[in-house]
Amino acid sequence: MDGMELLKNDHKRILEIINELINEFTGKVKHTNEESVRQRPRMFGKLRETLIQHLEVEERTLFPNLEGFVDTRILVDECYRERKRIDEILKRIEKLPEETQLDCRDDLLAELELRVQTYLVREEDWLFPKAKLLLGDAKLEEIFSRTILSPLDPIQPKRST
């Protein structure tokens, strides 16, 4: 399996977590209130951790190799910006008190879903095909073989040079 496919598998995992989170908040899963409240920080943590690990892999593989091209520089910048937007929404949802109006929470969850979908679609529809086109399969294989090819496994800290 190539590195790009592993990144796409990450995307599927991220979407699964987002759906779990939305189901949890909209009461589509049958937890007692206490269980629900206990589940939430764990789910937010899982989403944030998965996104961070995913971005770290991309920061070490695709992004540095694509930032120099006029066709992909803005796409890469936008991936970073989108991650920040997602993180901000996550923080806002996490800070909401339990008694917050459902409408307000639903709006934030819908925004979170939209931002995550946009992030993933932007990568799969635009960044990955352009990476294949600009770098070629051989170069991509070389790039990914130099890094850990299991994006959701713990990532080694970056070494300072």
């Binding site: 803005i74 796409l75 939209l114 979908q117 946009t118």
Partner: protein, 177 residues
Amino acid sequence: MLKSLILALAVLAAFSTVQAQEKAYSPPPTDAQIAMIAVTANSVDIDVAKMADQKTTNKAVKEFAATMVRDHTAVNTKATALVKKLGVTPEESDTSKSLKSDGDKKMAQLMALTGAEFNKAYIDNEVSYHEAVMGVLDNTLIPNTKNAELKVLLESARPIFASHLEHAKKLQASISK
């Protein structure tokens, strides 16, 4: 030189008309109209790029035109598949009609030019066109899109149009030297 100046002014005037019409709309465009505007905007640029590919011998301009054909075709393929999936029939509006008629006029103007004069006019047009498209995308299309999947499509493709603008500006600077 005079011909290029007249062409540049005509292009600017055409886009000012499109933007003025955007502002003049009282009801915001529907998703069906947004889909049509997006498809038309892409198609206009594809047609001009195909002509550029045939007319130019400049390697950088040829590569740029190929990128325009590839990327805008990809957006249209995705947009067409999405509206089909959603069961939405793209609907014409004054904006989509203006885009089409202005695009046809530009094609005719560019067709009359050759060589360096053509390259300059084509790239100048691409800069103006993508600036106008970014404006419409940011101020009209994305904020008014109701369907989440259509919004994702437009937002995810936005950096592509921004890259085209940056690419065109770089070419414009290098051609002018």
